[in-house]
């Protein structure tokens, strides 16, 4: 057994060795940086919405890796792990020319680590509405050399949105992303912009957080003309959800609708357009 003094020396030496090793590894990362090419040939997308934009742009051949939950059956691209915890080692091993991520998702990704390993990371701006989504779409198109195709698509999407028939008086639409607990959307979320473009009005647009928790009585007292619930994999029994309220207008008139989560959660011009069309068709079903 080493004496107390020797043990102290061993611990201090081991500590210094560990620190030196960490410093060496860090420096190695800095100097081992890869110079990205002008036109990236191998891209990793860490945001499902970015992946969907790439698919829409016909740039799937440039994808070298994507996070899960964006996998289309026809898409044969390697997964780099789950969306909220991508495998950094795998990304570094793939050694892409570019890593793409959306501003909304940057805080759950370990971007500084990727940059430390010399990977070029592009963070696309926040998607608040159709225009900001188009801005990001154009940027992606410029990176992948598909600007012309992007303009054609954007013009098509704009036409589709402009063709939507909107009611003269916008109905108040409460959009619920969760029923238990009750969570709605505010103006900070792109879903509020979808409601507006579909001809509705979000009574909870003023909240500071994108997805505020709502009390049931606030929902009942909101004066909503309709409630739209986004189903996440299961179908709600709408009749039982708000049964028994005789004095609440949207319940009395049967204006509670559900919609899937195939497009609404994704911030791409294509998904936005489809979502506006879907919400608009529900708005047309509202009984006044």
């Amino acid at each position: 057994m080493p004496s107390g003094m020797n043990l102290k020396k061993i611990i201090i030496t081991a500590f210094i060795l560990c620190l030196s090793l960490l410093f060496f590894i860090g420096r190695r990362g800095e100097h081992g940086s890869i110079i990205p090419p002008e036109n990236p040939g191998r891209i990793i997308s860490l945001s499902p919405s970015v992946t969907r934009c790439m698919i829409d742009l016909g740039a799937v051949d440039l994808l070298a890796g994507i996070t899960d939950y964006t996998l289309h059956p026809e898409l044969k691209v390697e997964s780099v792990g789950a969306y909220i915890s991508p495998n950094m080692e795998k990304i570094i091993t793939i050694n892409p020319d570019l890593v793409l991520v959306s501003e909304e998702d940057r805080y759950i990704q370990k971007l500084p680590l990727l940059e430390k390993f010399g990977l070029r990371v592009e963070v696309l701006a926040r998607n608040r509405d159709f225009n900001s989504m188009c801005g990001n779409y154009r940027r992606l198109a410029a990176i992948t050399g598909r600007s012309e195709a992007a303009e054609v698509k954007i013009s098509e999407y704009k036409n589709r949105i402009s063709r939507i028939a909107r009611p003269e008086t916008p109905p108040k639409i409460v959009f619920l992303v969760s029923v238990k607990p009750l969570v709605t959307v505010s103006g900070e979320s792109h879903i509020s912009a979808i409601i507006n473009d579909a001809g509705g009005e979000n009574p909870f647009a003023d909240a500071d957080t994108a997805y505020p928790i709502l009390s049931l009585e606030s929902l009942l007292l909101s004066g909503a003309d309709a409630v739209i619930i986004m189903t996440m994999g299961y179908d709600y029994d709408i009749n039982s959800l708000f049964s028994g309220y005789k004095n609440v207008d949207f319940i009395k008139k049967g204006n509670v609708f559900t919609t899937g989560d195939d497009n609404i959660p994704y911030y791409t011009p294509g998904d936005y357009t489809i979502s506006v069309e879907k919400i608009s068709s529900l708005i047309n079903m509202i009984k006044r």
Binding site: D68, Y69, A82, Y83, I84, S85, I108, V177, S178, V179, K180, P181, L182, V183, F204, A207, Y211, P212, I213, L214, S215, L216, E217, S218, L220, L221, S222, M232, G233, Y234, Y236, G244, Y245, K246, N247, V248, D261, P265
Partner: protein, 323 residues
């Protein structure tokens, strides 16, 4: 302060909280409107809100708070540990795992609460098996609960790492306490919880004896079976509180402490007074949670956690000589 005065004060606080719970919310509503409807008057939106939203919710808060406090009081006596709380046997970890599985695998909302309850029961079952095999009753229960909590929370983290961010968000909100979903299920569970609280109160003499230590309780005729039964009943009560309002922290830890200061450690009075005070406390916290940022809501667990943290700072400062 005489015990009679304590009973009167807590009864007054309970009545005040009940009134606050029914009147406060998105709009201040006069409870007389609901009474008018109950007596045959025309129903209005406000009376509907009182009868169908606030009363079930206040009911759930009352019984969830009471269950947590009674459970905390029992565990603090049985484990002779002032920091024992209702979730010390891993019930909250099991519930969180059950709920996470349900949300991530897209079970319907009703099934998610049942899944959380099953998770809690699973943790109680493991604790029971361990206690039967190893024959332990005291600190080993706490250690097994801590170990189980770690296993459950790691499993929850594993699920989170593979889940959609919307599912993670939803689960985290539920884990901060959710009385917003109170309905018929919660009211039914409240009745069962009331029965278990009465059953535990019937063990008040046992609890007083157990609080003196294992040797004393054994020589006084309290069997291991009875101790285990008390622990399992209390854990079951904690599991029911999860069904009523999700995972609500600190109520079961803080309320029995405060009641003990005024009413002493005798379980005969401590248990009913803790139940009343716990119910009153949670009703008040719930009223605050839906009144502070109208029309939005703060998870009730945030309010109980903040008040619990402040209470413990005060408690540590007050008893600093003991540390």
């Amino acid at each position: 302060m005489s015990i009679r005065k304590v009973y009167i004060i807590i009864a007054a606080v309970l009545s005040g909280s009940l009134l606050a719970g029914i009147s406060l919310g998105t709009e201040i509503i006069n409870p007389a409107e609901a009474l008018f409807t109950l007596l045959g008057g025309e129903s209005s939106l406000k009376s509907e809100i009182i009868l169908k939203v606030r009363i079930p919710r206040v009911f759930a808060a009352l019984f969830a708070g009471a269950s947590l406090s009674v459970c905390g009081a029992v565990f603090q006596s049985v484990f002779r540990n002032p920091l024992a709380d209702p979730f010390i046997t891993g019930v909250s970890g099991g519930a969180a795992l059950g709920y996470s599985v349900a949300v991530i695998f897209s079970f319907p909302p009703f099934a998610a609460v049942i899944s959380a309850f099953c998770g809690s029961l699973f943790s109680i079952f493991i604790i029971y098996l361990l206690s039967r095999r190893a024959g332990f009753t005291g600190s080993s229960f706490i250690l097994s609960g801590v170990a189980l909590s770690f296993i459950f929370s790691s499993s929850v983290m594993l699920l989170f790492s593979m889940a959609k961010s919307e599912s993670v968000h939803k689960t985290i909100i539920w884990m901060m306490g959710d009385l917003n979903s109170s309905g018929n299920l919660q009211v039914t569970v409240s009745v069962i919880a009331a029965g278990i609280m009465i059953a535990l109160w019937l063990f008040h003499r046992h609890l007083d004896i157990i609080a003196f230590g294992t040797d004393f309780s054994r020589s006084s005729g309290v069997t291991f079976f009875e101790i285990r039964l008390i622990i399992i009943l209390a854990s079951f009560l904690a599991a029911l509180s999860v069904v009523m309002g999700g995972i609500i922290p600190f109520v079961g830890l803080m309320v029995p402490h405060i009641v003990r200061i005024f009413a002493g450690s005798g379980s005969y009075s401590l248990l009913p007074l803790s139940a009343a005070a716990g119910g009153a406390f949670l009703m008040l916290c719930d009223a605050m949670s839906r009144t502070l940022v109208v029309p939005y809501e703060i998870p009730v667990g945030v309010i109980t956690g903040l008040s619990g943290g402040l209470f413990f700072l005060f408690y540590v400062l007050r008893s600093r000589r003991e540390f």
